[in-house]
């Protein structure tokens, strides 16, 4: 830690000095400087950097999947079924002779899609409901929070199961079910943050200038609640990946032949005693990605939410 501080002090001039100056000349410079300092805090945490690396790897796998493997993830080749890991098939083949590595690579697209779709729906809904309830107070607050508490008191996975059973199995419905069951904690966080800043002077100043309630909530309250929410979302992503994989494993998420990791484990289950690699490999992929989100979330918490 002290080495880095010395380094930045020793090298005067250049970009680093511009970023770390105590007298920024513009808002942009101040903002960039803050981001730079946050980045320094973040990179001091080795595990967090590992987590970020895993995330980048996941994105790279999803984008470059066709370039990384010569095999089609869906094409069956029954002459090649259940082959152990070898030079031709690094992670072996499954019961239909499909290359497991290719399926894992293409499956990262599904994982990424699930994570992104849940991340743009549930926290946004929670943020809006929470800030509105916290800022307006009164009966609006009471009603919204009652509903939130009801959803919070439910077991998430069981509720998601019930939703999927009603909507029918499939990856879209699994995403909807996960989103429906995961917004309440965000609402709680956003409301708590809103209540602490609702009475601040700068909010009063904006109100006296004649800003509408919508403008105050969207323009001034929401941005201040975002950082603690981002931390929570990142930490929750691991759980969301596990839930999605669990639904896939139960046959309620992505349907075959889609290369979803949880569903791959389910099909590999019957061969697990002899052809162990079929079920083992996708599980390692789920584990590594979910670990990555947990590490990244821990690191982000140190940067964005010093109170926690």
């Amino acid at each position: 830690m002290s080495v880095q501080t010395q380094n930045s002090a020793a090298r005067t001039g250049g970009l680093r000095a511009w970023l770390t100056t105590e007298t920024p000349q513009s808002r942009t410079q101040a903002k960039l400087g803050r981001i730079y300092l946050g980045w320094l805090t973040f990179t001091r945490n080795t595990l967090a950097v590992v987590g970020l690396g895993i995330m980048l790897l996941l994105v790279a796998m999803a984008v470059l999947a066709p370039l990384l493997t010569p095999y089609d993830p869906l094409a069956q080749d029954l002459g090649q079924r259940l082959l152990p890991p070898s030079g031709a098939h690094w992670l072996g083949t499954d019961a239909f002779g499909r290359d497991i590595l290719s399926r894992i690579l293409y499956g990262s697209r599904l994982t990424l899609m699930i994570v992104l779709l849940v991340a743009v729906t549930a926290p946004v809904a929670g943020l809006l409901i929470g800030t509105v309830a916290g800022y307006l107070g009164g009966w609006v607050d009471t009603v919204l929070m009652r509903v939130t508490d009801i959803f919070l008191a439910f077991p998430k996975l069981i509720l998601a199961l019930a939703f999927v059973s009603a909507l029918g199995p499939g990856i879209e419905n699994a995403i909807i079910a996960i989103a429906i069951t995961s917004w309440p904690p965000y609402t709680r966080i956003a409301r708590a943050e809103t209540i602490t800043i609702r009475k601040s002077d700068f909010i009063s100043a904006v109100r006296l200038q004649g800003a509408s309630k919508a403008r105050i909530i969207l323009g001034h309250v929401v941005p201040l609640c975002s950082s603690s929410l981002i931390v929570r979302v990142t930490l929750d992503m691991a759980g969301i990946i596990l839930t999605a994989a669990g639904l896939g494993f139960l046959g309620l998420g992505a349907q075959p032949p889609a290369p979803e990791w949880g569903a791959m484990i389910a099909t590999g289950r019957q061969y697990v005693l002899e052809q162990w690699w079929v079920a083992t490999m996708p599980g390692i992929a789920i584990f590594v990605v979910s670990l990555g989100f947990n590490l990244l979330g821990d690191g982000l918490r140190d940067v964005l939410d010093p109170k926690g």
Partner: protein, 348 residues
């Protein structure tokens, strides 16, 4: 803690009001749960009339059955009927087993209770000492090791871990039993009294059956308990760090008390209350986590019942099971809340 409980406290008006508002909020939450299961039951793309009479009936019969089922009533009246049915213990009939859902659920629930209880015991026995150790050795290798184990517990897919331990300990090393609650050889030896095989075996004095059931319980309970070990250890660590900073700890040390006594008696004694609520919450989480674990280990509990019903689109059974898990979940939340208020004089 006994001293706290003995404190003379006449339940004043404040307590009554607070108790009433707590009860009201629980009742409201339960009503919300009913509303959600009711609405899920209504959006299912299966026509409940056809499910009862089949699709080769005349329009007259169809209309009559529809009326008998109360499907011609406005939605809110249907909901009231539903609430009434549930409160009378009528969850409908399972299509799969053609028995009342409540009967089915009561039959399979003890197996889940046994599994989740064993898992929470593992969570407390390993998690609390690990958390204390991590707090005392903060920043040292013991702390790092416990943190890494905790991260693994949070990140590993439990159904995959179950398959892997079966592969290693049952198939390869042959030191653990296979799936199921008990060896076929012992099946039916003990009459079910509580439905919890280990307890029933002890009641009947069948020690062989008891050990066999415990042997079968070991693997699934450990897999399920890993998450709770991670959660309890993390919470214990952070509670302990808070306590170890306090001045009374310094006083105790200055008095010349041994470090063991300071940590395990003074500090740990003071976090007993928040820890109790953490354990209650993690127990609720385990009931839910048992769905996937039971599927992997063919453990005939509520989780397996719900998933089997799901796959055969047996909606009464799915919603009945969901309701029971939800009710237990709400109950445990309430219990942890009450325990906290009861044990901590500051919260009264």
């Amino acid at each position: 803690m006994a001293a706290i409980l003995k404190r003379p406290g006449v339940p004043g008006r404040r307590h009554v009001v607070r108790g009433a508002s707590l009860l009201a909020s629980v009742a409201l939450t339960f009503l919300g749960l009913l509303l959600v299961t009711f609405l899920i039951g209504r959006v299912v793309p299966i026509d409940p009339v056809i499910a009862v009479v089949g699709d080769r009936v005349s329009a007259d019969t169809y209309a009559r059955v529809r009326q008998e089922l109360g499907l011609d009533l406005p939605l809110w009246q249907q909901f009231l009927r539903y609430v009434g049915d549930v409160l009378r213990g009528d969850f409908g009939t399972s299509v799969l087993t053609s028995r009342p859902v409540l009967e089915d659920v009561l039959r399979v629930f003890p197996a889940t209770l046994e599994l989740a209880t064993a898992a929470v015991v593992i969570g407390v026995v390993l998690g609390v000492p690990a958390g204390v150790m991590a707090a005392v050795k903060r920043g040292r290798w013991q702390d790092q090791l416990i943190r890494v184990v905790g991260l693994i517990g949070y990140s590993v897919p439990v159904f995959w871990l179950g398959l892997m331990v079966l592969l290693v300990f049952y198939a390869r090393l042959e030191i653990a039993p296979g799936p199921g609650r008990i060896d076929v050889f012992y099946e039916g030896v003990v009459d079910p009294v509580t439905g919890i095989i280990t307890v029933d075996a002890l009641l009947a004095g069948e020690t062989d059956v008891f050990w066999n059931a415990l042997y079968h319980l070991m693997l699934p309970a450990s897999v399920l308990g890993l998450f709770s070990v991670a959660y309890i250890a993390r919470m214990t660590r952070s509670f302990m760090l808070d306590q170890l900073r306090q001045e009374y700890i310094t006083t105790a040390r200055v008095k010349g008390l041994s470090e063991t006594r300071v940590v395990w008696r003074h500090a740990l004694g003071n976090i007993a209350i928040p820890l109790t609520t953490v354990v209650a919450l993690s127990y609720a989480g385990l009931l839910e986590g048992s769905v996937l674990t039971e599927t992997v280990f063919a453990w005939p509990g509520l989780g397996l019942y719900i998933t089997n019903s799901l796959l055969s689109a047996d909606m009464n059974a799915v919603l009945g099971g969901t309701l029971v898990v939800g009710a237990v979940f709400i109950g445990l939340n309430l219990l942890s809340d009450l325990l906290y208020r009861l044990l901590d004089p500051r919260a009264r």
